[in-house]
């Protein structure tokens, strides 16, 4: 019973962090219709940025988070037009080209990181590391609890932005139909750029949490690329609530499979479940995708 509760709570906590990544990835996909294979690399780069900044400035990685989120949002903002250019190429399978492009980008970033920083695992030490908190009688690492609470707050703020502000309305409009949004005076390219920027910022921020919960290494992003796909496909392409449910599911599945079957089985089980979802709920768990 103790182990079960421990696994359940760990699953929920890590799911809370996945939710932030999932939501950003899903909305960015919803607006741009581009699957960003580099999602895991933004996580890795966020974690490494925190690691090196912490090394040279001694500022706690958790305090660096606002800076890292903004810095990567800026990178996303500057980089998005490059992806857009690939999609706009007059080519029969422009979407395929974009996919190949982000895949290549991901490989390039990961390869460069390996060359620069080697295979070593590095630890990201924060004020919350080595501390524990008591949750419903279960002891959990404070960093996990703190990261989850913070992620959920950020996701809630993002939801508020999307559903309660004028700019949020333009984003949802562009996600549904860019042509019609254009007739309303909305510049679809500007919206895509904004959304990609938010997504890269959120993902790099989550990278800091993931790096401080586990460890920091050039390959760390790989599994999250697979996770992001799970979330988007299972949650329904571009659905906000679907991404939340799928993020949480992902946390629970990976936690339970790791504990009761072994870490090596996580992907096997995950993609088997994904297969079942696609067969029985092709529009995602909540039926909200397209």
């Amino acid at each position: 019973m103790g182990l079960f509760m421990q696994t359940l709570i760990n699953g929920i906590l890590i799911g809370g962090i996945f939710i932030t990544i999932a939501v950003g990835f899903s909305i960015s996909y919803g607006v741009m219709h581009i699957v960003d294979f580099a999602v895991g690399e933004w996580i890795m780069l966020g974690a490494f940025t925190a690691f090196w900044l912490n090394m040279y400035t001694n500022v706690d990685p958790l305090l660096l988070i606002p800076f890292i989120a903004l810095f990567f949002a800026l990178i996303g903002y500057l980089f998005q037009p490059v992806i857009q250019k690939v999609v706009n190429i007059k080519h029969r399978s422009a979407a395929m080209m974009a996919l190949a492009f982000t895949f290549g980008l991901s490989t390039l970033i990961r390869g460069s990181a390996l060359t620069l920083w080697g295979f070593n695992n590095r630890n990201l030490i924060t004020v919350l590391s080595e501390k524990n908190v008591d949750l419903f009688g279960i002891t959990v690492p404070a960093i996990r609890a703190g990261a989850t609470v913070f992620s959920i707050l950020v996701t809630a703020a993002f939801a508020y932005f999307l559903y309660r502000t004028k700019t949020g309305i333009t984003i949802r409009a562009a996600a549904e139909n860019k042509t019609v949004a254009g007739l309303m005076g909305i510049d679809g390219h500007r919206i895509s750029r904004l959304v990609y920027s938010i997504y890269v910022g959120l993902t790099a921020m989550s990278g800091v949490f993931i790096g401080s919960i586990f460890s920091v290494f050039p390959d760390m992003g790989l599994r999250y690329t697979a996770f992001a796909f799970f979330v988007v496909v299972a949650g329904g392409m571009g659905s906000f609530s679907g991404a939340i449910v799928a993020g949480l599911m992902l946390g629970l599945i990976s936690s339970f499979v790791s504990v009761y079957m072994g870490g090596a089985y996580v992907f096997l089980i995950l993609f088997f479940i994904l297969y079942l979802i696609l067969v029985f709920f092709p529009k995602g768990i909540l039926g909200k995708g397209w």
Binding site: K166, I169, T170, R172, A173, E176, N177, T179, V180, A181, G182, L183, M184, G185, I186, D187, G188
Partner: protein
């Protein structure tokens, strides 16, 4: 009268299909002008070219004394032209109110926006009752009302309406055309594209007949109604 829009030798090509083979027309400020034509005549292509949804392969489009040929649609929209596309262009996942708010995104005249919103809800009470409903759940007639209301909320002075009667019951069609007349009387210039030729000719000041991408005839709507050729081809012989 001042010309608010002038189109010269407009040509639209999709791959190998020539949808418009060089048409010219104009609209005076405050007019209702209608373009009528059968399926595939090129009516929607005309509106799409004017509002920047498709790039014309040649020709000139002037709007309010500015050359807007090849201007992207979001820029044209900000110059006071609003296109209600074929099929109404609903953003089905947004609520009725969000659809209307979206239309005001680029407006800076905030007090006027408030007033327009109130006017729109007064004019379309059914939209007011369904403010928080997803636009996708509205009936066809309500969606058409919302599409027109949304065009008004952009603050545009010129509206392009693509077959507003499409798929609607006769009673609702009457209602829609009454709305079109009313907003025209309130000062909006309207370019109306229709297959429902009789109703369109009764509503408009002037009309153009479009056939296979070329303009066949033009003139005062009241004259065209009694034109024998038009009668035979478009008004079912009445």
């Amino acid at each position: 009268m001042t010309k608010i829009m002038e189109i010269e030798n407009l040509e639209v090509v999709y791959g190998v299909i020539k949808a418009l083979q060089g048409i010219s027309f104009y609209i005076d400020e405050g007019e209702i002008v209608t373009i009528i034509g059968a399926n595939g005549a090129g009516k929607s292509s005309t509106l799409r070219a004017v509002s920047g949804m498709v790039r014309p392969s040649s020709g000139k489009i002037r709007f309010k004394d500015k050359d807007v040929t090849n201007t992207p649609s979001h820029i044209i929209a900000r110059q006071g032209l609003s296109h209600v596309p074929e099929g109404r262009g609903m953003l089905t996942k947004l609520t009725v109110e969000e659809n209307l708010i979206l239309a005001t995104y680029n407006r800076k005249d905030h007090s006027q926006v408030k007033e327009d919103m109130k006017n729109v809800y007064d004019q379309f009470p059914r939209l007011s009752e369904r403010k928080r409903q997803a636009a996708g759940n509205l009936s066809g007639g309500e969606q058409q009302m919302l599409a027109i209301a949304r065009a008004l909320m952009t603050g545009a002075d010129t509206l392009l309406l693509d077959e507003p009667s499409m798929g609607l019951a006769p009673l609702i069609v009457q209602e829609i055309f009454a709305v079109i007349k009313r907003i025209n009387q309130a000062g909006k210039t309207i370019l109306l594209v229709e297959q429902n030729a009789m109703t369109a000719l009764r509503t408009a000041n002037r009309a153009y007949i479009l056939e296979n991408g070329t303009l066949l005839k033009s003139g005062k709507a009241s004259d065209l109604i009694s034109d024998p050729e038009v009668k035979a081809a478009y008004l079912g012989g009445y």
